[in-house]
Amino acid sequence: MTKETAASSAQMRKGVLELCILRVLRQGEAYTSDIVGALQAVDLLVVEGTIYPLLTRMKNAETLTYRWAESPSGPPRKYYSMTPQGERVLEALEASWDQFVDSVNSLSNPTPG
């Protein structure tokens, strides 16, 4: 991948990160490392740094909420979960994601006629 396409892909990944975080949290609450791990496992996240500002912003928008929990080793952990508001946001983002994919695909597969 050239430098430019790498930058574009990074931008794309960042664009869908919010949707991806919500998809991860739909399966239940998760602490930061879980979210990071889930996203890194499918190559949606390269470094963790990208995610922290986003989590904070989503928390301030009341899409997410969190609770502190003790950890068996190390510092206490912040467990994030989706709010009802978050569910609505997820729904809206899913819709625009579907539409986005359809739009992009329609360009490479023009309908005959």
Binding site: E18, T32, V47, P53, R57, P75
Partner: protein
């Protein structure tokens, strides 16, 4: 044997080796710079501190009790460079913050301040100071000064003396850093101090310098004379300012007329 510092990170106590400590400190202060003004800045920093605490705990396991430079670098690799923390989705506020995405070197580089450089001086360090301020080689400034000397000797001489008198000398390590546009951090100051020590040592070892130190006339030229001129220049400060303004206007007129007539008068 390595000295350590005790730090509290995410509510836990860590013993951190000194090199690791300064690396970590730089990382966090860079991060703070990148996040300045970003929504939820404090929350993000807190989250990062907790994450660092967790990573260090994991890296050290049960056998180690001290955080090393390796641990810090590993954590840094995992978290990403401070610049990665910029939130591209955030509504972009004022355009001045747009530079965040252009790389850390640019945002970390401070506006250079004008000082006289005592480390690289020919007379008073004015040329070197100007060179640092504008990020060019001092030789260029000196060549320009000497070249202009033929055309506008008195003005240049007065301007030089004026700058000598008015521009502060870089005395402290942080002055030197500000002069060269390096951020004032513990590391930066340490580098600067090390540079000074090395320079002092080199000078001491240099036989030519030893000879120069002994020669009285050079002392006179390099210390007494400038001091005297500086004192005079200070006393006459305002007179000189007025004179320089007038002469600069004259010089401007001269250049303009030279441009329009194609004739350059070498006499002033």
């Amino acid at each position: 044997m390595v000295e350590t510092r005790n730090i509290s990170l995410g509510g836990l106590l860590f013993h951190v080796e000194l090199p690791a400590y300064s690396r970590l400190q730089r990382y966090l202060s860079d991060l703070k710079d990148v996040l300045r003004g970003v929504e939820g800045e404090a929350d993000i920093l807190q989250e990062v501190e907790y994450r660092l605490a967790e990573l260090f705990t994991t890296f050290m396991g049960a056998n180690r009790t001290v955080v090393t430079l390796d641990d810090v670098e590993k954590a840094r690799g995992q978290l990403g460079e401070p610049i990665e923390f910029g939130d591209p989705e955030a509504p972009s506020e004022d355009p001045s913050k747009g530079s965040r995405s252009e790389g850390p070197s640019q945002s970390q580089r401070l506006r250079r301040r004008l000082f006289r450089d005592p480390d690289d001086r020919f007379l008073g360090g004015v040329a070197a100071g100007l060179a640092h301020r504008f990020g060019i080689d001092a030789v260029i400034v000196r060549v320009i000064l000497v070249a202009l000397l033929f055309g506008a000797g008195p003005v240049l001489l007065l301007m030089y003396l004026l700058l000598w008198a008015l521009v502060p000398k870089a005395r402290t390590a942080s002055d030197r850093l500000a002069m060269k546009g390096d951020p004032v951090t513990v590391d930066g100051i340490r580098n600067s101090v090390e540079e000074q020590l090395k320079k002092a040592q080199d000078q001491f070892d240099d036989p030519e310098i030893k000879g120069r130190l002994k020669s009285g006339w050079h002392r006179f030229i390099s210390e007494r004379l400038p001091q005297f001129i500086k004192a005079v220049a200070k006393v006459l400060g305002w007179l000189i300012i007025i004179a320089v303004v007038i002469m600069l206007l004259a010089l401007g007129g001269l250049i303009l007329s030279a441009l329009f007539t194609g004739y350059w008068s070498w006499t002033f």
